[in-house]
Subunit: 213 residues, 2 copies
DNA sequence: AACGACAGAACGATCGCTCGGTAAAAATGC
DNA sequence: GCATTTTTACCGAGCGATCGTTCTGTCGTT
């Protein structure tokens, strides 16, 4: 957890301002790209001056770090929510995990696009944080799938690959939304993908529709 | 097809130099990001001066356009190759399309990462070119799948979604290669994904391994 | 009077890009 | 075929703009 410089000693104020900075920066950067978003513009969008902005951050790159850290928090709360709903069959649990994951992506679509965009601008350390976030999600899904196979509820040839595919499908909703939104809502997308996955996992002879929720 | 300014009238030389520029620029930008790659650096990497570089391009953004155009050519040749191998069963054709697509992604992984990275830096028009490339691939795959369903070879609930998933899986190989390369080679990845897709499509009760060439 | 949040002018660095110059090659004249 | 002019690929110093960042000053609160 790297330190980000601030000239304020009011912890709550720093947290509030930085939260505002993260939110506004993501919006701007997704719209105009990182390099075309100047600190002046960002400050203006925040209703501050550049000096005021630098009261709460140490450098422009710190903003990236703050955003990355914010996504780490989101990942953590996603995994927490997934754990919480583990009280029915594994099929139900898996279905709910996918629903939680994908609705989360939909809710923070800008953020996911942002991550993709700035990935190559990140320092090696910051990049690792992003990697670890995704890895944790894959690992969780893989665990659920493996458990399902062990209990005979699922049949799968490669749980790791399927877990990865869920992440790929989720990323696609963010990256390729311009295309998908012509044909699907997030709900119909979830329904379709869940159906396909469960067909594969349970070997139903006909594609089934599982009520996602 | 936008025009890119040049001060040379030697068409072949322009083509050669620009090809060199595209290749070198992708390498540099993937390594350092677009904004951190200056025209000076690029010129140095090309063994030229900035003045010499601007002999063949009109602006830095033109480089992006040239790269985007290069990927359009790649997409076209991919689709051509797919069409060429349509001489067996639809299953064989579909399998071969996936193999061609994914090996192409592997071959130009830098380029695919690049596209993802600069997407938000692109002008609206250039963005559309990228979108159309992906759309054409999805459309082709969807056509193959629909044909397979019509002929009774495949069973699928939503061909469009499955076609999109292939693209998502291919993009994932480029974007998430840092993770996948720990566990798969491109060949084993193709094998695994093809197997899963065909299991879903043909409804085999056990995951089958299709020899992907 | 002291402090902290913020403003905004100013600085140094770097950027994309231009432009006058050069040396070699091609075209031209005789 | 040689000399001269024109063209062309390329160089690199330099321009103007903009960037990230700093720093001094202001104003309201304590």
């Amino acid at each position: 957890m790297r330190k980000v410089r601030t000239f304020s000693s009011d912890i709550d104020l720093v947290k509030e301002r930085r939260s505002h900075i993260v939110k506004t920066a993501v919006e701007l950067i997704v719209k105009k790209g990182y390099n075309h978003t100047s600190t002046r513009e960002l400050a203006a969008a925040l209703g501050m001056s550049t000096g005021g902005l630098y009261h709460y951050i140490g450098s422009k790159d710190d903003i990236l770090y703050l955003i990355i850290n914010f996504t780490s928090d989101l990942t953590q709360s996603l995994l927490d929510n997934c754990t919480k709903c583990n009280n029915g069959s594994i099929t139900q649990h898996f279905t709910e995990c996918i629903r939680l994951y994908l609705t989360g992506v939909e809710q923070y679509r800008d953020l996911h696009n942002f991550i993709n965009h700035v990935m190559l601008s990140l320092s090696v350390n910051d990049r690792r944080i992003v990697y670890e976030n995704e890895s944790r999600i894959v690992a969780y899904l893989e665990k659920v799938l493996t458990e399902g196979v062990k209990k005979g509820e699922f049949r799968a040839h490669d749980c790791k690959c399927l877990a990865h595919n869920v992440v790929a499908i989720a990323n696609a909703w963010a990256n390729r939304g311009w295309y998908l939104k012509r044909y699907y809502t997030i709900d119909s997308y979830i329904k379709e993908q869940t159906g396909a996955l469960l067909t594969l996992l349970t070997g139903a002879s006909d594609p089934v529709h599982v009520t996602a929720r």
